[in-house]
């Protein structure tokens, strides 16, 4: 750690870990409900559990991205954060808004729009919170000694993520246009600007962990985020095939969605090649596992599994089935969860001064979480494909099909248990590092 103010990142990461545990808990509630054990229905019906599960994902990832920015920007800009106090105010207000939203979901206080369930008054608070965050990050960056490509790409991703939140707040009378602009937020976040954030963090980690020249890494960073936007922006069309808008999206969405895996493939090749090229063998192997793992798993989850059902001819049958849940789980895990866990694994020893690089617990966490998540993806996939054939092809009743495929949710819960064990081990490791300290300033990274 080079700057005292980087320590603020620790608390954002700690909030992320807490919310991740809660997210998993609500995932289990849904998994059990699907196999008939919905005893909590009177207090936590499925729609509440679902809204909490997906919204917690967004909030813990955002908290992780913010923590990453608070860690990376001072180091890249070579300047202390302009106000640590305000960063803590931003952290506490983020946690409070999240808490109010999640409690509210248990009392029918929501907007009921997939992924954007947060009620309108809280939306305004989110906007204020994000503006404060961006103000701190951008002021630090532009008052700093240098503005690196890594820092600029990361900040651009955060800025665009904030701007793209706004179309989701537009009111529409029509379900079709409502849905149309909701995807401006959801798709352009996860298959657009969040990838800038991911790319920025990945680039920072590769520079630190491999020792490859910054100029080389940052040049390829531009190419990769360029490919992402080139395919991802018009790839939004795959959400528009069958929601009641013009057929032109079948052609545009079909072509550009087919290009989306290329951006992820480029990212995976980029990460692996930089690792191979690197002469520096950084002792923090765990951070390297998570970094390379993120690039590779995101290619499989977001790239390949996304492609598996974005062709219009396939999507006609898979649209609105569990096939989407299959793709969603591995994509979010690989692209975003793993990159947040990577930056935590890298920065934690630097902030606390405790170099637990060779932890067997840390390695077990990596493998168990990944094997568990791949198992969950397979379970969702088998359930989804069976659903497509039985319901969409053979015309069986929805609920009859759900009974037929419930066995796959038993498998899902078993794999989720494996995944959770990995996450618990990761959090134990997090806890064992202790609190961040100024004494860590002296320690060589």
């Amino acid at each position: 750690m080079k700057y005292k103010s980087q320590k603020v990142a620790y608390w954002f990461f700690a909030l992320s870990m807490l919310l991740l545990v809660l997210q998993i808990t609500y995932g289990f509630i849904m998994g059990f409900a699907r196999i008939g054990f919905d005893n909590l229905h009177d207090f936590i019906p499925f729609n509440t559990a679902r809204a909490v599960h997906t919204n917690l994902l967004v909030v813990w990832l955002l908290s992780g991205f913010m923590g990453a920015a608070y860690y990376i920007i001072p180091e890249e800009a070579q300047k202390e954060l302009v106000s640590v106090k305000l960063a803590y105010v931003q952290l506490i207000s983020l946690a409070l808004v999240g808490l109010v939203a999640i409690v509210g979901y248990h009392f029918n206080y929501w907007e009921g729009r997939k992924f954007l369930e947060i009620p309108r008054p809280l939306d305004y608070l989110v906007v204020v919170n994000v503006l404060l965050f961006l103000g701190l990050i951008l002021t630090t960056l532009f008052k700093g000694k240098r503005q690196t490509t890594t820092a600029l790409v990361l900040s651009m991703g955060l800025l665009f993520a904030a701007l793209l939140y706004l179309p989701g707040m537009l009111p529409f009378d029509s379900q079709v246009t409502d849905s149309f602009f909701r995807w401006w937020v959801v798709h352009l976040w996860v298959e657009g600007v969040w990838e800038l954030i991911m790319g920025g963090i990945l680039s920072f980690l590769l520079i630190k962990l491999t020792g490859v020249d910054r100029e080389v890494i940052e040049k390829w960073l531009y190419v990769i985020v360029g490919l992402t936007f080139l395919s991802g922006v018009l790839g939004t069309g795959h959400h528009y095939y069958y929601i009641g808008v013009n057929k032109i999206w079948l052609i545009v969405g079909g072509i550009f969605s087919a290009l989306e895996p290329l951006a992820f493939l480029a990212m995976a090749l980029f990460a692996v090649n930089m690792y191979r090229k690197g002469e520096k063998k950084h002792p923090n192997k765990l951070a390297l596992y998570w970094t390379l793992g993120s690039a590779i798993v995101s290619f499989i989850g977001a790239g390949l599994l996304g492609f598996a059902h974005t062709l219009p001819q396939t999507n006609l049958y898979t649209h609105g089935t569990l096939v989407t849940a299959m793709h969603g789980h591995l994509a979010f895990w690989g692209a975003y969860a793993m990159i947040v866990l990577a930056i935590i694994s890298y920065s934690l020893p630097n902030m606390t001064g405790r170099k637990l690089y060779e932890s067997s617990r840390g390695r077990a966490a990596f493998w168990l979480a990944n094997i568990g998540m791949i198992g969950m993806t397979v379970a969702f996939g088998v359930a989804g494909v069976a659903q497509v054939y039985l319901e969409r092809k053979f015309g069986m009743d929805f609920m009859k099909v759900q009974k037929e495929i419930s066995i796959h949710f038993v498998v899902l819960i078993l794999c989720a248990t494996l995944f959770t064990t990995g996450i618990i081990l990761y959090i134990i490791d997090f806890y064992k590092h202790g609190k961040p300290t100024d004494e860590a300033l002296e320690i060589n990274e």
């Binding site: 499925f46 379900q175 849905s179």
Partner: protein, 153 residues
Amino acid sequence: MLSKKQARAFFLGGTLVTFLIFIGLTVYSLSEGADQTNHENLTAEVVRGKEIWESNNCMGCHTILGEGAYYAPELTKVVDRLNMRYDGNGEEVIKSILMSKGPWQPNGRKMVAYGMSEQEASDVVEFFKWIGKIDLNGFDRIVSPLAKDKINN
């Protein structure tokens, strides 16, 4: 060999061009002539139905236009489907489910008892009927019990 400057130009230029095309296509697909959102048939009842749909987060279990949570049935063609099953009484069945004060538990999977008023339930039905008339580029046939044979043959 590609320079960093060229890579940056590729990123910025590519992004700008694709965003402009995206905005252009958005304007085109919602413009008169190309619009197929069934906007012209929106009524006050349909809009109220949508608000009820959202304020109860129905999408947190069901899907509509193929979007939702896959825990409860797709409702895009629900009126047609229940009309077929209940001899043309689909609307009444939907209203009775929404107005029920007791728990509704088809095939063991529970639904929240919303206890809606007659007016609210009727608004939701109007919303479903409006949804059912949208041209969904073929997806409407996939989820419609009336046309299943057509798409499968």
